[in-house]
Protein backbone atom coordinates (compact mmCIF):
# COMPACT_ATOMS: atom_id res chain seq x y z
CA UNK A 1 0.00 0.00 0.00
CA UNK A 2 2.70 2.43 1.07
CA UNK A 3 4.79 1.42 -1.92
CA UNK A 4 1.96 2.16 -4.33
CA UNK A 5 1.33 5.51 -2.72
CA UNK A 6 4.99 6.40 -3.23
CA UNK A 7 4.92 5.21 -6.82
CA UNK A 8 1.74 7.12 -7.52
CA UNK A 9 3.28 10.26 -6.09
CA UNK A 10 6.34 9.97 -8.30
CA UNK A 11 4.19 9.23 -11.31
CA UNK A 12 2.34 12.50 -10.68
CA UNK A 13 5.56 14.50 -10.25
CA UNK A 14 6.99 13.06 -13.45
CA UNK A 15 3.72 13.67 -15.29
CA UNK A 16 3.89 17.31 -14.17
CA UNK A 17 7.51 17.61 -15.33
CA UNK A 18 7.15 15.82 -18.65
CA UNK A 19 3.62 16.41 -19.93
CA UNK A 20 4.26 19.97 -21.19
CA UNK A 21 7.42 18.91 -23.00
CA UNK A 22 5.72 15.90 -24.58
CA UNK A 23 2.79 18.03 -25.75
CA UNK A 24 5.29 20.45 -27.29
CA UNK A 25 6.96 17.57 -29.13
CA UNK A 26 3.71 16.02 -30.34
CA UNK A 27 2.55 19.34 -31.78
CA UNK A 28 5.84 19.79 -33.62
CA UNK A 29 4.40 17.27 -36.08
CA UNK A 30 1.12 19.10 -36.47
CA UNK A 31 0.24 20.40 -39.91
CA UNK A 32 -1.80 23.39 -38.71
CA UNK A 33 -0.48 26.07 -36.44
CA UNK A 34 -3.15 25.29 -33.85
CA UNK A 35 -1.88 24.15 -30.51
CA UNK A 36 -4.98 22.29 -29.46
CA UNK A 37 -6.17 20.52 -32.62
CA UNK A 38 -3.95 17.94 -34.21
CA UNK A 39 -4.88 17.96 -37.89
CA UNK A 40 -2.29 16.12 -39.96
CA UNK A 41 1.15 14.68 -39.50
CA UNK A 42 3.92 16.72 -41.07
CA UNK A 43 7.66 17.29 -40.80
CA UNK A 44 7.56 20.64 -42.54
CA UNK A 45 8.42 22.59 -39.37
CA UNK A 46 11.65 20.61 -39.12
CA UNK A 47 12.53 21.40 -42.73
CA UNK A 48 11.82 25.07 -42.09
CA UNK A 49 13.93 24.94 -38.95
CA UNK A 50 16.93 23.53 -40.79
CA UNK A 51 16.66 26.29 -43.38
CA UNK A 52 16.38 29.00 -40.75
CA UNK A 53 19.72 30.77 -41.02
CA UNK A 54 19.30 32.67 -37.77
CA UNK A 55 18.91 29.41 -35.85
CA UNK A 56 21.94 27.85 -37.53
CA UNK A 57 24.17 30.87 -36.83
CA UNK A 58 23.02 31.21 -33.25
CA UNK A 59 23.58 27.48 -32.67
CA UNK A 60 27.12 27.90 -33.91
CA UNK A 61 27.61 31.01 -31.74
CA UNK A 62 26.34 29.17 -28.67
CA UNK A 63 28.70 26.24 -29.18
CA UNK A 64 31.62 28.56 -29.85
CA UNK A 65 31.00 30.57 -26.67
CA UNK A 66 30.40 27.43 -24.58
CA UNK A 67 33.64 25.76 -25.68
CA UNK A 68 35.80 28.89 -25.30
CA UNK A 69 34.22 29.93 -22.00
CA UNK A 70 34.39 26.49 -20.38
CA UNK A 71 38.00 25.84 -21.46
CA UNK A 72 39.22 29.24 -20.32
CA UNK A 73 37.20 29.09 -17.11
CA UNK A 74 38.64 25.67 -16.36
CA UNK A 75 42.24 26.84 -16.79
CA UNK A 76 41.65 29.98 -14.75
CA UNK A 77 39.73 28.04 -12.11
CA UNK A 78 42.23 25.22 -11.65
CA UNK A 79 45.08 27.66 -11.02
CA UNK A 80 42.82 29.67 -8.73
CA UNK A 81 42.02 26.54 -6.71
CA UNK A 82 45.71 25.65 -6.41
CA UNK A 83 46.45 29.11 -5.09
CA UNK A 84 43.49 29.26 -2.73
CA UNK A 85 44.33 25.84 -1.32
CA UNK A 86 47.82 27.04 -0.40
CA UNK A 87 46.56 30.21 1.28
CA UNK A 88 46.14 31.01 4.91
CA UNK A 89 42.73 31.07 6.48
CA UNK A 90 41.93 34.76 6.17
CA UNK A 91 42.86 35.35 2.56
CA UNK A 92 41.21 32.04 1.75
CA UNK A 93 37.94 33.19 3.32
CA UNK A 94 38.12 36.46 1.40
CA UNK A 95 38.63 34.67 -1.91
CA UNK A 96 35.84 32.21 -1.18
CA UNK A 97 33.45 35.11 -0.62
CA UNK A 98 34.53 36.53 -3.97
CA UNK A 99 33.92 33.12 -5.54
CA UNK A 100 30.42 32.78 -4.11
CA UNK A 101 29.39 36.25 -5.22
CA UNK A 102 28.34 35.41 -8.80
CA UNK A 103 26.85 32.12 -7.56
CA UNK A 104 24.44 33.67 -5.07
CA UNK A 105 23.73 36.98 -6.77
CA UNK A 106 20.51 37.03 -8.81
CA UNK A 107 21.43 36.51 -12.46
CA UNK A 108 19.81 39.75 -13.48
CA UNK A 109 22.09 41.70 -11.10
CA UNK A 110 25.20 39.98 -12.49
CA UNK A 111 23.90 40.69 -15.99
CA UNK A 112 23.16 44.39 -15.62
CA UNK A 113 26.31 45.12 -13.61
CA UNK A 114 28.48 43.62 -16.33
CA UNK A 115 26.48 45.45 -18.94
CA UNK A 116 27.33 48.72 -17.16
CA UNK A 117 31.05 47.90 -17.32
CA UNK A 118 30.98 46.78 -20.96
CA UNK A 119 28.96 49.78 -22.09
CA UNK A 120 31.44 52.02 -20.25
CA UNK A 121 34.43 50.30 -21.91
CA UNK A 122 32.77 50.69 -25.30
CA UNK A 123 32.14 54.37 -24.61
CA UNK A 124 35.77 55.02 -23.65
CA UNK A 125 37.18 53.12 -26.62
CA UNK A 126 34.79 54.78 -29.04
CA UNK A 127 35.85 58.28 -28.02
CA UNK A 128 39.40 57.34 -29.03
CA UNK A 129 38.65 55.22 -32.08
CA UNK A 130 35.58 57.01 -33.40
CA UNK A 131 31.87 56.31 -32.88
CA UNK A 132 30.66 52.79 -33.48
CA UNK A 133 34.00 51.00 -33.83
CA UNK A 134 33.52 48.91 -30.70
CA UNK A 135 30.23 47.40 -29.63
CA UNK A 136 29.02 44.59 -27.40
CA UNK A 137 29.28 41.19 -29.00
CA UNK A 138 31.18 37.92 -28.79
CA UNK A 139 33.89 39.40 -26.56
CA UNK A 140 31.52 40.71 -23.90
CA UNK A 141 29.42 37.53 -23.90
CA UNK A 142 32.57 35.45 -23.60
CA UNK A 143 33.93 37.47 -20.67
CA UNK A 144 30.55 37.29 -18.94
CA UNK A 145 30.32 33.52 -19.41
CA UNK A 146 33.85 32.92 -18.16
CA UNK A 147 33.02 35.03 -15.11
CA UNK A 148 29.93 33.07 -14.07
CA UNK A 149 31.58 29.72 -14.92
CA UNK A 150 34.92 30.03 -13.04
CA UNK A 151 33.39 29.80 -9.56
CA UNK A 152 31.94 26.38 -10.41
CA UNK A 153 35.38 25.13 -11.48
CA UNK A 154 36.94 26.45 -8.27
CA UNK A 155 34.19 24.92 -6.13
CA UNK A 156 34.58 21.55 -7.84
CA UNK A 157 38.39 21.41 -7.76
CA UNK A 158 38.98 22.69 -4.21
CA UNK A 159 37.51 19.67 -2.38
CA UNK A 160 39.68 17.35 -4.49
CA UNK A 161 42.79 19.36 -3.56
CA UNK A 162 41.81 19.23 0.09
CA UNK A 163 41.49 15.45 -0.05
CA UNK A 164 44.87 15.07 -1.75
CA UNK A 165 47.79 13.85 0.30
CA UNK A 166 50.43 16.62 0.12
CA UNK A 167 53.19 14.09 0.68
CA UNK A 168 52.56 12.46 -2.69
CA UNK A 169 53.75 15.61 -4.45
CA UNK A 170 56.93 15.65 -2.39
CA UNK A 171 57.46 11.92 -2.87
CA UNK A 172 57.38 12.46 -6.63
CA UNK A 173 60.09 15.08 -6.29
CA UNK A 174 62.16 12.77 -4.06
CA UNK A 175 61.94 10.19 -6.83
CA UNK A 176 63.47 12.66 -9.26
CA UNK A 177 60.56 14.62 -10.72
CA UNK A 178 60.99 18.31 -11.33
CA UNK A 179 58.26 20.42 -9.68
CA UNK A 180 56.56 20.83 -13.05
CA UNK A 181 56.70 17.11 -13.74
CA UNK A 182 55.29 16.17 -10.38
CA UNK A 183 52.54 18.74 -10.91
CA UNK A 184 51.57 17.19 -14.24
CA UNK A 185 52.04 13.56 -13.26
CA UNK A 186 50.75 13.63 -9.69
CA UNK A 187 48.62 16.63 -8.85
CA UNK A 188 46.65 16.99 -12.07
CA UNK A 189 45.63 13.28 -12.34
CA UNK A 190 44.61 13.35 -8.69
CA UNK A 191 42.24 16.30 -9.06
CA UNK A 192 41.05 15.28 -12.56
CA UNK A 193 37.51 14.26 -11.49
CA UNK A 194 36.99 17.75 -10.03
CA UNK A 195 38.36 19.41 -13.16
CA UNK A 196 36.09 17.34 -15.39
CA UNK A 197 32.94 18.04 -13.40
CA UNK A 198 33.82 21.75 -13.20
CA UNK A 199 34.36 21.83 -16.94
CA UNK A 200 31.10 20.02 -17.70
CA UNK A 201 29.15 22.27 -15.37
CA UNK A 202 30.65 25.36 -17.02
CA UNK A 203 29.91 24.00 -20.47
CA UNK A 204 26.26 23.25 -19.76
CA UNK A 205 25.65 26.51 -17.88
CA UNK A 206 27.17 28.45 -20.74
CA UNK A 207 25.07 26.58 -23.34
CA UNK A 208 21.92 27.22 -21.36
CA UNK A 209 22.44 30.78 -20.17
CA UNK A 210 19.87 33.32 -21.20
CA UNK A 211 19.68 36.12 -18.65
CA UNK A 212 23.34 37.18 -18.48
CA UNK A 213 23.78 36.84 -22.25
CA UNK A 214 20.64 38.91 -22.78
CA UNK A 215 22.24 41.91 -21.06
CA UNK A 216 25.74 41.55 -22.52
CA UNK A 217 25.26 40.50 -26.15
CA UNK A 218 24.54 43.83 -27.80
CA UNK A 219 22.39 43.93 -30.90
CA UNK A 220 24.23 41.78 -33.42
CA UNK A 221 25.50 38.72 -31.57
CA UNK A 222 22.85 36.09 -30.81
CA UNK A 223 23.12 32.79 -28.99
CA UNK A 224 20.47 30.09 -29.25
CA UNK A 225 18.59 31.03 -26.05
CA UNK A 226 18.43 34.65 -27.25
CA UNK A 227 17.00 33.53 -30.59
CA UNK A 228 14.51 31.25 -28.84
CA UNK A 229 13.40 34.21 -26.75
CA UNK A 230 12.78 36.41 -29.78
CA UNK A 231 10.89 33.53 -31.41
CA UNK A 232 8.60 33.09 -28.41
CA UNK A 233 7.76 36.80 -28.52
CA UNK A 234 6.10 36.25 -31.89
CA UNK A 235 3.63 33.83 -30.27
CA UNK A 236 2.64 31.07 -32.72
CA UNK A 237 5.69 29.46 -34.23
CA UNK A 238 5.76 25.67 -34.54
CA UNK A 239 9.49 25.83 -35.35
CA UNK A 240 10.02 26.28 -31.62
CA UNK A 241 8.25 22.97 -31.04
CA UNK A 242 10.50 21.28 -33.58
CA UNK A 243 13.56 22.80 -31.93
CA UNK A 244 12.39 21.61 -28.50
CA UNK A 245 11.91 18.09 -29.82
CA UNK A 246 15.42 18.03 -31.27
CA UNK A 247 17.02 19.43 -28.09
CA UNK A 248 15.08 16.97 -25.95
CA UNK A 249 16.30 14.01 -27.99
CA UNK A 250 19.89 15.30 -27.94
CA UNK A 251 19.82 15.74 -24.15
CA UNK A 252 18.19 12.33 -23.68
CA UNK A 253 20.82 10.60 -25.83
CA UNK A 254 23.62 12.42 -24.05
CA UNK A 255 22.37 11.51 -20.57
CA UNK A 256 21.70 7.87 -21.46
CA UNK A 257 25.12 7.58 -23.06
CA UNK A 258 26.95 9.15 -20.12
CA UNK A 259 25.05 6.87 -17.74
CA UNK A 260 25.99 3.78 -19.74
CA UNK A 261 29.65 4.83 -19.80
CA UNK A 262 29.57 5.52 -16.08
CA UNK A 263 28.00 2.21 -15.10
CA UNK A 264 30.44 0.34 -17.41
CA UNK A 265 33.38 2.06 -15.74
CA UNK A 266 31.96 1.13 -12.34
CA UNK A 267 31.56 -2.50 -13.38
CA UNK A 268 35.14 -2.63 -14.65
CA UNK A 269 36.39 -1.19 -11.39
CA UNK A 270 34.47 -3.82 -9.45
CA UNK A 271 35.86 -6.61 -11.62
CA UNK A 272 39.43 -5.47 -11.27
Amino acid sequence: MKKWLARGYFALILLFLYAPILVLIVFSFNESKSRSNFTHFTTKWYTELFHNELIITSCWNTIQVAILASVLATILGVFAALGINAMRKRSKALLMNLTYMPVINPEIVTGISMMLLFVYICGVLNTFLGEGTVELGLWSVLIAHITFCVPYVVLNVLPKLRQMDANVYEAAMDLGCTPLQSFWKVVIPDIMPGIVSGFLMSFTYSLDDFVITYFTNGSSFQTLPITIYSMTRKKVNPQINALSAILFVVVLLFLVLSNVIQSRAEKQREES
Partner: protein, 270 residues
Protein backbone atom coordinates in the same frame (compact mmCIF):
# COMPACT_ATOMS: atom_id res chain seq x y z
CA UNK B 1 55.06 30.75 -2.55
CA UNK B 2 54.68 30.03 -6.24
CA UNK B 3 51.48 28.21 -5.44
CA UNK B 4 49.85 31.22 -3.86
CA UNK B 5 50.65 33.24 -6.98
CA UNK B 6 48.70 30.74 -9.07
CA UNK B 7 45.46 32.42 -8.11
CA UNK B 8 46.58 35.93 -9.11
CA UNK B 9 44.97 35.87 -12.58
CA UNK B 10 41.74 34.69 -10.99
CA UNK B 11 41.80 37.42 -8.36
CA UNK B 12 42.41 40.05 -11.02
CA UNK B 13 39.68 38.61 -13.23
CA UNK B 14 37.11 38.53 -10.46
CA UNK B 15 38.09 42.01 -9.31
CA UNK B 16 37.64 43.49 -12.77
CA UNK B 17 34.55 41.58 -13.84
CA UNK B 18 32.68 41.04 -10.57
CA UNK B 19 33.73 43.69 -8.05
CA UNK B 20 34.12 46.63 -10.45
CA UNK B 21 30.72 46.05 -12.14
CA UNK B 22 28.98 45.82 -8.76
CA UNK B 23 30.82 48.98 -7.73
CA UNK B 24 29.59 50.70 -10.87
CA UNK B 25 26.06 49.55 -10.11
CA UNK B 26 26.28 51.13 -6.65
CA UNK B 27 27.80 54.30 -8.14
CA UNK B 28 25.05 54.61 -10.76
CA UNK B 29 22.40 54.03 -8.11
CA UNK B 30 23.47 57.26 -6.41
CA UNK B 31 24.22 59.55 -9.37
CA UNK B 32 22.29 61.65 -11.82
CA UNK B 33 22.83 61.68 -15.58
CA UNK B 34 25.33 64.55 -15.24
CA UNK B 35 27.34 62.71 -12.61
CA UNK B 36 26.39 64.42 -9.36
CA UNK B 37 25.34 62.64 -6.18
CA UNK B 38 21.64 62.04 -5.64
CA UNK B 39 19.26 60.00 -3.53
CA UNK B 40 16.48 60.46 -6.06
CA UNK B 41 16.96 57.09 -7.75
CA UNK B 42 16.55 55.32 -4.46
CA UNK B 43 13.57 57.42 -3.39
CA UNK B 44 11.85 56.79 -6.72
CA UNK B 45 11.73 53.10 -5.94
CA UNK B 46 9.02 53.90 -3.41
CA UNK B 47 6.66 54.27 -6.37
CA UNK B 48 7.19 50.63 -7.20
CA UNK B 49 6.61 49.20 -3.73
CA UNK B 50 3.57 47.28 -4.91
CA UNK B 51 5.62 45.55 -7.63
CA UNK B 52 8.32 44.63 -5.13
CA UNK B 53 5.72 43.24 -2.74
CA UNK B 54 4.02 41.31 -5.51
CA UNK B 55 7.32 39.73 -6.62
CA UNK B 56 8.14 38.67 -3.08
CA UNK B 57 4.62 37.40 -2.53
CA UNK B 58 4.55 35.26 -5.69
CA UNK B 59 8.06 33.94 -5.05
CA UNK B 60 7.18 32.99 -1.47
CA UNK B 61 4.08 31.11 -2.66
CA UNK B 62 6.10 29.33 -5.38
CA UNK B 63 8.85 28.40 -2.91
CA UNK B 64 6.30 27.07 -0.45
CA UNK B 65 4.57 24.93 -3.09
CA UNK B 66 7.95 23.64 -4.29
CA UNK B 67 8.86 22.71 -0.74
CA UNK B 68 5.57 20.90 -0.07
CA UNK B 69 5.92 18.94 -3.33
CA UNK B 70 9.64 18.28 -3.01
CA UNK B 71 9.83 17.25 0.64
CA UNK B 72 7.98 13.93 0.28
CA UNK B 73 9.62 13.39 -3.12
CA UNK B 74 13.12 13.89 -1.71
CA UNK B 75 12.39 11.61 1.23
CA UNK B 76 10.89 8.81 -0.86
CA UNK B 77 13.79 9.12 -3.29
CA UNK B 78 16.36 8.83 -0.52
CA UNK B 79 14.77 5.56 0.73
CA UNK B 80 14.77 3.85 -2.69
CA UNK B 81 17.19 1.17 -3.82
CA UNK B 82 20.35 2.65 -5.35
CA UNK B 83 19.61 1.59 -8.92
CA UNK B 84 16.10 2.94 -8.83
CA UNK B 85 17.35 6.08 -7.11
CA UNK B 86 19.78 6.86 -9.94
CA UNK B 87 17.11 6.22 -12.53
CA UNK B 88 14.62 8.55 -10.80
CA UNK B 89 17.25 11.24 -10.29
CA UNK B 90 18.04 11.14 -13.98
CA UNK B 91 14.35 11.45 -14.83
CA UNK B 92 13.95 14.45 -12.53
CA UNK B 93 17.09 16.12 -13.89
CA UNK B 94 16.31 15.58 -17.56
CA UNK B 95 13.76 18.39 -18.03
CA UNK B 96 16.21 20.80 -16.37
CA UNK B 97 18.58 20.28 -19.27
CA UNK B 98 16.03 21.77 -21.64
CA UNK B 99 16.32 25.51 -21.90
CA UNK B 100 13.96 27.15 -19.43
CA UNK B 101 12.57 29.43 -22.15
CA UNK B 102 11.30 26.34 -23.95
CA UNK B 103 9.84 24.92 -20.75
CA UNK B 104 8.04 28.18 -20.06
CA UNK B 105 6.88 28.37 -23.67
CA UNK B 106 5.38 24.90 -23.26
CA UNK B 107 3.13 26.16 -20.47
CA UNK B 108 2.30 29.26 -22.46
CA UNK B 109 0.79 27.10 -25.19
CA UNK B 110 -0.99 24.83 -22.69
CA UNK B 111 -2.63 27.62 -20.69
CA UNK B 112 -3.78 29.72 -23.64
CA UNK B 113 -7.43 30.47 -24.09
CA UNK B 114 -7.44 28.22 -27.16
CA UNK B 115 -4.84 25.91 -25.62
CA UNK B 116 -4.95 22.20 -24.97
CA UNK B 117 -6.16 22.43 -21.37
CA UNK B 118 -9.12 24.62 -22.30
CA UNK B 119 -9.79 22.30 -25.21
CA UNK B 120 -10.16 19.39 -22.77
CA UNK B 121 -12.21 21.43 -20.32
CA UNK B 122 -14.57 22.26 -23.15
CA UNK B 123 -15.06 18.58 -23.88
CA UNK B 124 -16.01 18.15 -20.24
CA UNK B 125 -18.39 21.05 -20.51
CA UNK B 126 -16.36 23.41 -18.30
CA UNK B 127 -14.79 26.69 -19.21
CA UNK B 128 -13.09 28.06 -21.14
CA UNK B 129 -11.14 29.36 -18.16
CA UNK B 130 -8.77 32.25 -18.59
CA UNK B 131 -5.55 30.86 -17.14
CA UNK B 132 -2.82 32.63 -19.07
CA UNK B 133 -1.80 36.12 -17.95
CA UNK B 134 -2.80 35.50 -14.33
CA UNK B 135 -0.74 35.44 -11.15
CA UNK B 136 -1.54 31.75 -10.85
CA UNK B 137 0.12 31.10 -14.20
CA UNK B 138 3.25 32.95 -13.06
CA UNK B 139 3.44 30.89 -9.86
CA UNK B 140 2.90 27.70 -11.87
CA UNK B 141 5.77 28.68 -14.17
CA UNK B 142 8.06 29.27 -11.19
CA UNK B 143 7.14 25.93 -9.59
CA UNK B 144 7.58 24.08 -12.86
CA UNK B 145 10.95 25.60 -13.67
CA UNK B 146 12.51 25.42 -10.22
CA UNK B 147 10.98 22.31 -8.58
CA UNK B 148 14.03 20.09 -9.36
CA UNK B 149 16.24 22.67 -7.59
CA UNK B 150 14.28 21.94 -4.42
CA UNK B 151 14.13 18.15 -4.83
CA UNK B 152 17.87 17.66 -5.42
CA UNK B 153 19.34 19.31 -2.30
CA UNK B 154 16.61 17.80 -0.11
CA UNK B 155 17.32 14.37 -1.52
CA UNK B 156 21.10 14.64 -1.17
CA UNK B 157 20.84 15.62 2.50
CA UNK B 158 18.16 13.05 3.31
CA UNK B 159 20.13 10.25 1.64
CA UNK B 160 22.82 10.71 4.29
CA UNK B 161 20.44 10.30 7.23
CA UNK B 162 20.89 6.96 8.99
CA UNK B 163 17.56 5.06 8.76
CA UNK B 164 18.08 3.59 12.23
CA UNK B 165 17.45 7.06 13.64
CA UNK B 166 13.80 6.76 12.63
CA UNK B 167 13.62 3.36 14.30
CA UNK B 168 15.16 4.84 17.42
CA UNK B 169 12.62 7.67 17.35
CA UNK B 170 9.81 5.13 17.04
CA UNK B 171 11.23 3.08 19.91
CA UNK B 172 11.30 6.17 22.03
CA UNK B 173 7.62 6.71 21.39
CA UNK B 174 7.48 9.04 18.38
CA UNK B 175 4.62 8.47 15.99
CA UNK B 176 5.54 8.93 12.29
CA UNK B 177 4.39 12.55 12.21
CA UNK B 178 6.41 13.40 15.28
CA UNK B 179 9.56 11.73 13.95
CA UNK B 180 9.25 13.75 10.74
CA UNK B 181 9.03 16.88 12.87
CA UNK B 182 11.73 15.92 15.41
CA UNK B 183 14.18 13.93 13.28
CA UNK B 184 13.74 14.33 9.53
CA UNK B 185 13.22 18.10 9.35
CA UNK B 186 16.04 19.13 11.72
CA UNK B 187 18.50 16.78 10.00
CA UNK B 188 17.55 18.00 6.52
CA UNK B 189 18.07 21.65 7.47
CA UNK B 190 21.03 22.29 5.12
CA UNK B 191 19.06 20.84 2.22
CA UNK B 192 15.98 22.87 3.08
CA UNK B 193 18.07 26.03 3.19
CA UNK B 194 19.78 25.49 -0.15
CA UNK B 195 16.50 24.40 -1.70
CA UNK B 196 14.73 27.54 -0.55
CA UNK B 197 17.62 29.71 -1.77
CA UNK B 198 17.75 28.02 -5.15
CA UNK B 199 14.02 28.46 -5.74
CA UNK B 200 13.39 31.83 -4.10
CA UNK B 201 16.25 33.85 -5.62
CA UNK B 202 15.53 33.04 -9.29
CA UNK B 203 11.76 33.34 -8.67
CA UNK B 204 11.95 36.84 -7.21
CA UNK B 205 14.26 38.11 -9.93
CA UNK B 206 12.70 36.47 -12.99
CA UNK B 207 11.41 38.56 -15.84
CA UNK B 208 10.85 35.81 -18.40
CA UNK B 209 8.24 33.80 -16.53
CA UNK B 210 6.23 36.88 -15.65
CA UNK B 211 6.40 38.14 -19.23
CA UNK B 212 5.54 34.87 -20.93
CA UNK B 213 2.89 33.61 -18.51
CA UNK B 214 1.81 36.81 -16.78
CA UNK B 215 1.24 39.03 -19.79
CA UNK B 216 1.59 42.77 -19.31
CA UNK B 217 -0.42 42.98 -16.09
CA UNK B 218 1.90 40.99 -13.87
CA UNK B 219 5.12 42.99 -13.83
CA UNK B 220 7.72 41.80 -11.34
CA UNK B 221 10.99 43.36 -10.10
CA UNK B 222 12.85 41.60 -12.90
CA UNK B 223 10.66 43.18 -15.58
CA UNK B 224 11.07 46.57 -13.98
CA UNK B 225 14.87 46.30 -14.02
CA UNK B 226 14.98 44.85 -17.51
CA UNK B 227 12.92 47.79 -18.82
CA UNK B 228 15.54 50.25 -17.56
CA UNK B 229 18.36 48.56 -19.44
CA UNK B 230 16.96 47.06 -22.62
CA UNK B 231 14.91 48.99 -25.11
CA UNK B 232 14.26 52.63 -25.76
CA UNK B 233 14.03 53.96 -22.20
CA UNK B 234 17.64 53.27 -21.25
CA UNK B 235 17.99 54.48 -17.68
CA UNK B 236 20.89 52.82 -15.85
CA UNK B 237 20.49 55.14 -12.86
CA UNK B 238 17.04 54.00 -11.70
CA UNK B 239 17.84 50.51 -12.96
CA UNK B 240 20.97 50.30 -10.82
CA UNK B 241 19.09 51.55 -7.79
CA UNK B 242 16.45 48.84 -8.25
CA UNK B 243 19.10 46.16 -8.76
CA UNK B 244 20.93 47.30 -5.65
CA UNK B 245 17.74 47.01 -3.61
CA UNK B 246 17.09 43.55 -5.09
CA UNK B 247 20.62 42.40 -4.28
CA UNK B 248 20.50 43.68 -0.69
CA UNK B 249 17.06 42.12 -0.25
CA UNK B 250 18.38 38.73 -1.38
CA UNK B 251 21.38 38.95 0.94
CA UNK B 252 19.08 39.78 3.85
CA UNK B 253 16.75 36.90 3.05
CA UNK B 254 19.67 34.48 2.79
CA UNK B 255 21.16 35.71 6.04
CA UNK B 256 17.76 35.34 7.72
CA UNK B 257 17.28 31.72 6.69
CA UNK B 258 20.90 30.92 7.51
CA UNK B 259 22.40 30.29 4.07
CA UNK B 260 25.74 31.71 5.14
CA UNK B 261 26.31 29.43 8.12
CA UNK B 262 29.11 26.85 8.08
CA UNK B 263 29.67 25.01 4.86
CA UNK B 264 26.03 24.89 3.97
CA UNK B 265 26.57 26.88 0.81
CA UNK B 266 28.41 23.92 -0.58
CA UNK B 267 25.05 22.26 -1.04
CA UNK B 268 24.56 24.56 -4.03
CA UNK B 269 27.22 22.72 -5.97
CA UNK B 270 25.64 19.28 -6.08
Amino acid sequence: MLKKLASTPYVLWMAIFVVVPLGMMIYFAFTTADGSFTLDNMLQIGKYTSIFLKSINLAVIATLICFLLAFPAGYLLSRMKTRRQNMMLLLIMLPMWMNFLLRTYAWMTLLENEGLINHFLELLGIGPLSMINTQGAVVLGMVYNFLPFMILPLYSVMAKIDPSLFEAAADLGCNPMLSIWKVLIPLSRPGIISGITMVFVPSVSTFIISRMLGGGQNMLIGDLIEKQFIGSSYNPYTGSAMSLVLMVLMILVMAAIGSFEDDEMEGIVV
